[in-house]
């Protein structure tokens, strides 16, 4: 049995499925986070220690936080601050645009 035959009969589906999923996941994490994420991190800033603030600063270096950078920031904040303000659906905090919430975080970072 040739390699290509073996691949097609046994490996193609179990290999291609995760490969396509990975492509989709990579695209998904490159997108920007929800606007309320910025306000959550802005709330955490005054409570955060210098190391956590450095992590937030690094994530905001390009002015936006992607879904790839966000879990690292989230875990760092939780290890340090042990809490995070949330923005439940239906709450007015969800009405802000992403530009506004980016501004809120930028302003909090100057404090």
């Amino acid at each position: 049995m040739t390699v290509s035959r073996f691949f097609r009969d046994y490996l193609m589906v179990p290999v291609l499925m995760p490969a396509f999923t990975a492509c989709f996941a990579v695209y998904d994490v490159s997108q920007e986070v929800e606007p309320y994420t910025y306000t959550s991190y802005a709330w955490a800033w005054p409570h955060a220690n210098e190391n956590t603030r450095e992590v937030i600063r690094e994530a905001m270096a390009d002015g936006k936080i992607s879904r790839w950078e966000s879990p690292v920031v989230f875990r760092t904040i939780m290890d340090d601050v042990h809490a995070l303000m949330t923005c439940p659906a239906g709450n007015e905090c969800r009405d802000k645009t992403v530009e506004q919430t980016r501004e809120i975080l930028q302003e909090a970072m100057t404090q």
Partner: protein
Amino acid sequence: MKGLFKGPFWQITVGLWLSMAVFFGITAHSWETLLSWLSIAAFFIIGALSGEFCKSQVKPLRIAGRIGAVAFFVALAGCVLIGLERVYLVTADSYPRFLTKNLGTADMNTLDMLGTKECKGKAVEVFEKANNTWIIRCGFGWHDSHTYTSNADPFRSIRPERAQ
């Protein structure tokens, strides 16, 4: 079983577990998440391959198949036991003391100390049991947790006053 590996049911099942591993690993930005899902895929793959090897004409493959089959059933039994232990921890009136470390009278400071040392990065849960016993667990399942006993409620200083 050979036909199983060629068929869509097996290949799509494995493909799904690997896809979930990759998807959640990437979106959570976590190696641990990836490895957790991959180990489920490995569990099924090792089980099926071991079954296939057990029937092989080649002796070393037969031995490998038996080892793999034992490992598969041990892992399966282990998961069932971990599930049962968790249910017991949450619902029973007591918990075996010899499985825990005694903290004496724990309070919020004790929990903070645990959070910086042995329990770093783990969620802390407190379960009230009978006979003035509180069981504290850092982590979820027995296999990757620390379990402690306290003779007082660690949260007593922050609880609202109970109605008389």
